[in-house]
């Protein structure tokens, strides 16, 4: 039996919900489950992070003890469907682990009430993970639901049409990345056809076939639909090269090569100017002597590795792709990897942030994955596209400078008086020594301590090593003297080193 710690990928039920709920239109979703199945994904996860206070199109049966032990949940579902069927054109019923285990036979309703307008979705919540479910439900909507809906006319536009597939609830930073991808598509002279499911009416799924190319926002899910649609498929890019390839590839598929080249040239002088300036500056030298790690979903993990390592010059430590933990038993043990080789910067979720804190590692944490109790609603924080290049460079630079400042000597206010007394005593001692009345005991550095100090210094980012080594030496000796020792111990070094982590 595999025991997991801090589960960071959810299940099929959440995945289905997060694809269906964002779409507009006269339809609703019914959750067939107990109170927590409504509360946890919607009222908490979405309310606290995406700050969506209440999803108006999601209802729940809120099954109780009697339903579980005696009656099953079908009667509740039937009643709720009966009340909602006249209000909504379409109803999607989602099973959850609980209703699946008591086999509530909700699928009967599909035939019983109205096979066209009620869809029962067995989310296989115990066996399917979040990302697979998002993949499946996107395809399901295209293959099973869209054919039963009235076909909408093709968008009247002279420009080539492009679908964006995959911006759903419960992702990290999707608002910003979605906005940037839209900007890029429009930048090369194409038009967004359907942004599914984010900027999309349910009926819009009948128009998915109208596009000339498809952009999948994420690599983690959506490929089944992408393949079914059969048009050229592109993925949300992270980094300079990936974005350029994305723009040119998409342009070639749409016959917009010249426009794309012009757009890229213009971007270099506008959006990317900020990146170019930072890249030429001393910032980039610091990048090259530093390390990073990442544990995130595939798109972000691979994108960040490409960008941070191949374009900014960081060295990669402790990198992993999140889906591994669910799919294989050989998943990278991120905590162990962090302990073995703590990078300067680490991109991840709240779990990794906790490991870093728990072990008092010197690593700085940057949010880059769910679950993360932060709000990401600003569209000004993209990781993808050229704007992503600028934004990532900025946060990385600022974080490194913050590290630098935490290593620079500071006169702690509460210690000012104590320090003054120490200085006075030291001067007296020195005077006495000159007069020949005392012989100063020098503080020794045993070999073991020197070796330890070297080991500790290696954990300190290279660009602050000079300041750090000075501080380690002076402060460790002070600690030794305070304890009336004439030698420095490894503990002294560690104690001083721990202050760096603040």
């Amino acid at each position: 039996m595999q025991m997991m710690r801090d589960v960071d990928l959810t299940n099929g039920y959440w995945g289905a919900l997060y694809v269906l709920a964002p779409m507009r239109g006269n339809f609703c979703v019914i959750v067939d489950g107990p109170i927590g199945c409504h509360y946890v994904p919607i009222d908490s996860a979405l309310n606290y992070t995406d700050a969506i206070p209440y999803l108006q199109n999601v209802y729940a049966t809120h099954i109780l003890e009697g339903d579980v032990a005696l009656d099953g949940t079908l009667h509740k579902l039937r009643k709720l469907c009966g009340e909602l069927i006249d209000r909504y054109e379409n109803i999607f019923i989602l099973s959850c682990a609980e209703s699946e285990i008591i086999s509530s036979e909700g699928s009967m309703l599909e035939a019983e009430i109205d096979g066209r307008r009620i869809y029962y979705i067995h989310t296989r919540s115990l066996d399917v993970d979040d990302l697979t479910a998002r993949d499946d439900i996107m395809l399901y909507l295209y293959e099973h639901v869209a054919p039963k809906m009235p076909r909408l006319p093709k968008k009247a536009s002279a420009k080539p049409l492009v679908n964006i597939l995959g911006p759903t609830y419960g992702n990290f930073n999707h608002y910003a990345d979605f906005a940037e991808i839209k900007r890029l598509i429009e930048g090369i002279g194409a038009e967004v056809n359907v942004a599914f499911p984010f900027d999309c009416e349910l009926g819009d799924i009948t128009r998915l076939d109208d596009a000339d190319a498809n952009v999948l926002l994420y690599q983690e899910y959506g490929q089944k639909l992408g393949k079914a649609l059969g048009k050229p498929l592109f993925f949300g890019p992270i980094g300079l090269q990936a974005t350029t390839e994305f723009l040119l590839g998409l342009a070639d598929a749409l016959g917009l090569r010249a426009e794309a080249e012009a757009f890229i040239a213009k971007e270099k002088r506008t959006t990317l100017q900020g990146f170019w300036d930072v890249w030429r500056s001393p910032h980039q030298d610091i990048f090259r002597t530093n390390t990073f790690g990442v544990y995130a979903h595939k798109t972000y993990a691979e994108g960040l590795i490409n960008f941070m390592r191949d374009e900014l010059g960081f060295e990669a430590y402790a990198c992993g792709v999140k889906t591994d933990r669910w799919r294989s038993k050989n998943a990278m043990d991120i905590e162990a990897a962090l302990l073995e080789n703590p990078p300067t910067l680490f991109f991840g979720s709240i779990n990794e942030k906790i490991y870093i804190t728990e072990h008092i590692l010197p690593t700085r944490f940057i949010a880059a994955a769910t679950p993360m109790p932060i709000v990401c609603r600003s569209t000004g924080t993209p990781f993808m596209g050229y704007n992503g290049v600028v934004y990532l460079t900025q946060i990385v630079s600022n974080e490194l400078f913050d590290i630098l400042y935490s290593h620079i000597h500071i006169e702690y206010a509460p210690e000012k008086d104590k320090r003054r007394r120490e200085r006075d005593a030291a001067r007296k001692e020195w005077e006495e020594q000159l007069k020949g009345s005392i012989v100063i005991r020098e503080v020794r550095w045993p070999e073991e301590t020197v070796a330890h100090m070297e080991k500790v210094l290696k954990k300190v980012p290279f660009f602050v090593r000079v300041s750090a080594s000075k501080m380690l030496r002076v402060e460790s000796e002070k600690l030794a003297k305070e304890q009336f020792r004439d030698y420095v111990t490894t503990d002294d070094v560690d104690q001083v080193y721990n202050r760096f982590k603040r």
């Binding site: 039996m1 595999q2 025991m3 997991m4 710690r5 589960v7 960071d8 959810t10 299940n11 099929g12 039920y13 959440w14 489950g33 107990p34 109170i35 927590g36 409504h38 509360y39 946890v40 994904p41 009222d43 908490s44 996860a45 309310n47 606290y48 206070p53 209440y54 108006q56 199109n57 729940a60 809120h62 099954i63 003890e65 339903d67 579980v68 509740k76 009643k79 709720l80 009340e83 909602l84 209000r87 959850c96 682990a97 609980e98 699946e100 285990i101 296989r124 919540s125 115990l126 066996d127 993970d129 979040d130 669910w326 709240i350 779990n351 906790i354 804190t357 728990e358 679950p371 109790p373």
Partner: protein, 489 residues
């Protein structure tokens, strides 16, 4: 079209398992294990972290096939033993969530085989609120400690308190008890398991929150009596001090004197410049702590027509219920969000203390509503200091309304998404919304009539002449009715 009867406008309680995790993740040396499915693991992990648990939660990877596996029990045991070897926890609370409970994973048997295990059953369909799940967790911990014989050293004149209160409140309790020659030996839940051990050996429990019914039964079984309520408001402060003194065996003459002193101190605050005469406040909480808050508000002169909670009625609430009913307050147990909305419609309060959804709607409508948990439950309540604090907050809320409303009025000309689906709210609340979302509920539906009046008033006192126009939605403006204009003067 008939209103939808079986829908829930919004959930009435968090997932109960979260309540148990709140207690368990804070305990040092505890290593909680969840048994359920990935959605629950992920969501509860997120929730626990959101509320700053900063502790790992473990869970076995279970597929539906595993639930039909005859060896599941042994496999789980082996996995838990492995973790004990690695992490060396003092206790392992194993929580059966919905699915695991339904398929009947026998955690009691596990606990018999591994003594570190505290078996807990917390389900979304059985445990009615997250507060009561805290009770389940506490009961489980105390049961385990009793099994280990940690209840055999009785300490005279010692008191323990139970309920999540602001740290300053426990200090206030400590000082108060010391004056009477008593000792506050422990406060639970806390992060130290020894506090729980100490609590099992005191002479009286002060049950500050009224949902700890199962836990109090555990104390009853080892012969420790409990008293209910807390030293809030003038009346209850007096009664509470006398009760705790009598139960814990303090000098009653001294207790009488201290009870009078404290009562008078509270009364002075209640009657002072912070009084709430003429202010109407609806209190919609969910843990029973709203009884304590409500008492202070009522005694300070506020009109509290409605008080609701998610917990069930129990003997621990009896005194409070009688007290409120005698003062005409409608007390609602196991409330739904719809109940709270209806109350807001019916009573048109100046301030609504409510859960997120109802508070969110209040904000959209221009009331000084706040989220109960974050703003109210995280404050000192006890004695004069607590009263001062709560009353100060109410005045702060009333005063802050104009500035909050500036943002609100910015969005008034656009049909923004609402916290609660509009059609459903309209059905539930009827004509309260007939006047449109632009007008506040409080002050009635007379927005149309008073609009001209508002336009005529050059300075309505809402502090925002720029946005004060016909249909002024800013509370405190005459458009909002006489009730609210009071504060403007």
């Amino acid at each position: 079209m008939d209103p939808i009867k079986s829908i829930k406008l919004a959930t009435q309680s968090p997932c109960p398992a979260f309540g148990a995790l709140r207690i368990l993740t804070r305990l040092e040396g505890f290593l909680p294990i969840l048994l359920g499915n990935h959605g629950c693991y992920y969501g509860l992990n997120f929730l626990a972290h959101f509320y700053a648990a900063r502790k790992s939660i473990y869970a076995p990877l279970l597929y539906s096939l595993d639930f039909t596996d005859k060896n599941l029990h042994h496999k789980l045991l082996d996995a838990i033993k492995e973790i004990i070897k690695e992490e060396k926890p003092e206790f392992i609370p194993v929580i059966n969530l919905c699915v695991a409970t339904t398929v009947g994973i026998d955690i009691d048997e596990m606990a018999r085989q591994i003594p570190e295990i505290i078996p807990l059953r917390v389900t979304g369909f059985g445990t009615r609120s997250h507060a009561e799940a805290k009770d389940v967790a506490m009961e489980g911990i105390f049961k385990k400690l009793r099994q280990f014989g940690d209840h055999k050293l009785r300490e005279p004149k010692a008191v323990a308190s139970i309920g999540e209160v602001f740290p300053a409140d426990t200090i206030a309790l400590e000082n108060l008890l010391e004056k009477m020659g008593l000792k506050l030996r422990a406060h639970v839940p806390s992060k130290d398991i020894n506090d729980f051990r100490k609590a099992l050996n005191v002479s009286t429990m002060a049950c500050l929150h009224p949902f700890y019914t199962r836990t109090m039964r555990q104390f009853g079984e080892v012969g420790i009596p409990h008293i209910t309520g807390g030293p809030v408001g003038a009346e209850m402060t007096y009664a509470w001090i006398k009760a705790i003194a009598e139960s814990a065996g303090a000098d009653m003459r001294l207790a009488e004197q201290i009870a009078c002193e404290e009562r008078d101190a509270v009364q002075k605050v209640l009657d002072g410049p912070l009084n709430l005469k003429g202010v109407r406040i609806a209190v919609a909480g969910y843990e029973g702590i709203e009884f304590l808050v409500g008492r202070i508000l009522v005694e300070a002169g506020a009109d509290v027509p409605y008080l609701s909670t998610s917990i069930g009625k129990s003997p621990l609430c009896e005194a409070d219920v009688a007290w409120f009913q005698a003062r005409g307050t409608e007390v609602k147990f196991r409330k739904s969000a719809a109940d709270d909305l209806m109350a807001v419609k019916k009573y048109k309060p100046d301030i609504a203390l409510a859960a997120t959804d109802v508070a969110g709607m209040g904000k959209e409508l221009g009331s000084a509503s706040v989220y109960f948990t974050n703003l109210i439950a995280a404050r000192p309540l006890f004695l004069a200091h607590g009263a001062e604090n709560i009353l100060g907050l109410m005045h702060h809320l009333l005063k802050a309304r104009p500035s909050i409303n500036r943002v609100r009025s910015f969005f008034q000309d656009v049909e923004m998404e609402r916290s609660i689906a509009i059609p459903e709210v309209k059905e539930h609340l009827g004509d309260a919304f007939a006047c449109g979302w632009g007008a506040p509920v409080w002050g009635g539906c007379a927005a149309g009539e008073v609009a001209e009046e508002a336009a005529a008033a050059s300075d309505c006192g809402c502090g925002d002449a720029m946005n004060c126009a016909p249909g002024c939605a800013i509370a405190g403006c005459p458009a909002a009715g006489g009730q609210n204009s009071r504060e403007a003067k």
